[in-house]
C-alpha cells in the first residue's frame, strides 16, 4: 500500500543536498552543531527534540528521537513526560485563545 510517509525515506534525508547543496550542507552543519553537548546536555536536547517531534507530528522525527532518547539512557517514563509537555503546550495554546474569545464575547454582548 502506498503512503505519503515511508520509514525508509528517513535514511534519504541527506539526499536533499542533491537539489540545493549549499543550503543543505549549511542546514546539516547547523543541525549537528545544535545537538552537540552545550549548556544543555545531549540527552536533554534529545528529549526536547522528542517533544517537538510530537508537537509537529513528524513521523520521521518521532522514530528518530525515540531511538535517540533510548540510546541516551532515557526511560519510558521520562519520554512520555516529554510527550505530555508537548501535549500541554499544544492544548494550552488552544485554550489560551479562549481569552480572545472571551474578549470578543464582552465586546459584542450586552
Amino acid at each position: 500500500m502506498k503512503t505519503y510517509y515511508n520509514p525508509e525515506d528517513l535514511k534519504k534525508f541527506g539526499n536533499i543536498t542533491e537539489l540545493q547543496k549549499a543550503m543543505g550542507d549549511k542546514f546539516f552543519a547547523y543541525y549537528a552543531e545544535v545537538f552537540k553537548e552545550g549548556a544543555l546536555t545531549a540527552r536533554e536536547k534529545s528529549l526536547i527534540a522528542l517533544a517537538v517531534a510530537h508537537a509537529i507530528q513528524c513521523p520521521y522525527c518521532i522514530d528518530a528521537y525515540t531511538s535517540d532518547t533510548l540510546e541516551k539512557g532515557c526511560d519510558e517514563e521520562q519520554m512520555m513526560e516529554a510527550v505530555h509537555v508537548a501535549a500541554a503546550i499544544r492544548g494550552g495554546a488552544s485554550l489560551v485563545h479562549g481569552t480572545q474569545m472571551m474578549n470578543k464575547i464582552k465586546e459584542i454582548t450586552m
Binding site: R43, K72, G73
Partner: protein, 350 residues
C-alpha cells in the same frame, strides 16, 4: 524460560548463526573483513596478551533474554579443577597478563570457584582479578551470602550487569524480580566497602541496551546511573561500562523474531569507527572456554571459532609466542565492538 540449547533452537548451532551473519548483510553493506581491509587492519593482529578471560561455565541462576552465552539453570557445562590448574600454570608464568577476568554463566556457581580465585591471588598478588557477578547470585542461596566478604578478602573487582536503573527495563531483559534483588545485592556489596570512596574495592556496573538500539555516551549514562541509584536507592558504584549487544545467540534470536535484524546490523555497520576497530579487546585478550579451548574473545567462543593457531588451540598446549603471532578471527558480529564509541567487556574503547 529455557536456553536455546534446551529448546533445540537452530541458533544454538553456531554454524547456523554464522550463516546468517555472513549471508544476510543489509543491501549494499560490506563485510567486517572488508571494513578492516579498507583501514589497513586486516588481518587483525594481537598487540599483547594482557587480559586472561576464563569462562567458568554456562550454568547460571538467570536466563537473560539477550545472553550471548545462552546460559541458564539447564546448562551443565562447567570448568573442571584440572582445566583450572592448566589456567593457573599460564597465569603464573605469563607475566604480560595483568588481569584475570572470570565470567560465565554465573562463575560463582562453579563448585571450584573459590578455590580457583584463592589460587590465582596466591600465584599473582600483583594482578587484577575480575568477577562478572550477576548480583542475584549473592541472594540465590545462603551458601552465596558471604560472597561480598570473599571478594573483599581476595581483592576481587566486581563487575555487574544492571541494564537500567528501573525495574521495568531491567526485569524485561533479565527476568521478573531481578532488579529488586540486584539493588539488595548492591547494598550488600556497598556494606563491605565495594563502590565506596577510599576503600579501593571496585564495583563497576555494565549497561547494555534493552533492545535493538545502541548505547549512548558512556560518561553521560554513568552520570545518570549514579544520580538515580544514589537518590532512589542509596547505592554507590565506581564506573559504568556501556556495552553494545552483539548479534549472536539469544540477542540474534530476538533481533530476527522482532524483525529488527536488518536495521540493527545497518546501525552497527553505519557506526563503524576505525579508532574503535584499532582498540578492540581481542587484540590484548585471550578467552578460555569451560573445556579449555582458546578463543579470541567471549563472542567467538560462543560461535565456536577457536583461535587460528593450530599449535596452541587448547590451554594444555599454551604457547604465548605463537598466540601473539596469530591472526584474530573476525566475522560480521564484530561490528558490535566497533560501532560508535566501541564496545568491550570493559565498556567503550574509543
Amino acid at each position: 524460560m529455557k536456553s536455546l540449547k534446551a529448546l533445540n533452537h537452530t541458533l544454538s548451532n553456531p554454524e547456523e548463526a554464522l550463516e546468517i551473519l555472513e549471508e544476510q548483510l543489509p543491501n549494499g553493506k560490506k563485510s567486517f573483513q572488508a571494513h578492516l581491509q579498507t583501514i589497513g587492519l586486516f588481518p587483525l593482529k594481537p598487540t599483547q596478551i594482557e587480559i586472561f578471560q576464563v569462562n567458568l561455565g554456562k550454568m547460571c541462576n538467570q536466563v537473560c533474554k539477550h545472553c550471548h552465552v545462552d546460559a541458564g539453570p539447564d546448562r551443565k557445562e562447567i570448568m573442571t579443577r584440572e582445566t583450572m590448574l592448566e589456567c593457573l600454570r599460564v597465569i603464573t608464568h605469563e607475566t604480560s597478563i595483568h588481569t584475570v577476568d572470570l565470567t560465565g554463566g554465573a562463575p560463582e556457581m562453579n563448585p571450584e570457584f573459590r578455590w580457583f580465585v584463592t589460587e590465582i591471588r596466591n600465584a599473582r598478588p600483583d594482578i587484577s582479578i575480575l568477577v562478572r557477578c550477576n548480583l542475584t547470585i549473592i541472594l540465590a542461596n545462603p551458601k552465596y551470602h558471604d560472597l561480598p566478604d570473599f571478594f573483599k578478602e581476595n581483592r576481587v573487582e566486581v563487575v555487574s550487569s544492571l541494564p537500567y536503573f528501573t525495574a521495568l527495563r531491567t526485569d524485561s531483559q533479565r527476568g521478573d524480580g531481578v532488579f529488586e534483588k540486584s539493588i539488595e545485592a548492591l547494598k550488600r556489596l556497598n556494606a563491605v566497602g565495594y563502590g565506596m570512596e577510599g576503600t579501593g574495592l571496585s564495583l563497576n556496573l555494565v549497561y547494555n541496551p534493552s533492545g535493538a538500539f545502541l548505547p549512548g555516551a558512556q560518561d553521560e549514562l554513568e552520570r545518570e546511573f549514579k544520580k538515580k541509584l544514589l537518590d532512589k536507592f542509596g547505592v554507590h558504584f565506581n564506573s559504568l561500562f556501556a556495552i553494545t549487544n552483539i548479534p549472536i545467540s539469544r540477542f540474534l534470536d530476538y533481533l530476527i523474531r522482532s524483525e529488527n535484524y536488518e536495521s540493527y546490523m545497518e546501525k552497527l555497520i553505519d557506526a563503524f569507527n576505525p579508532s574503535a576497530a584499532a582498540g578492540v579487546m581481542c587484540r590484548n585478550t585471550i578467552s578460555i572456554g569451560w573445556d579449555g579451548w582458546l578463543y579470541d574473545c567471549d563472542f567467538n567462543q560462543m560461535l565456536e571459532m577457536k583461535v587460528d593457531e593450530k599449535s596452541s588451540q587448547h590451554i594444555s598446549k599454551w604457547d604465548g609466542n605463537a598466540l601473539l603471532a596469530r591472526d584474530i578471527k573476525v566475522n560480521n558480529h564484530c561490528f558490535g565492538c566497533t560501532a560508535g564509541a566501541g564496545s568491550s567487556c570493559g565498556g567503550a574503547t574509543a
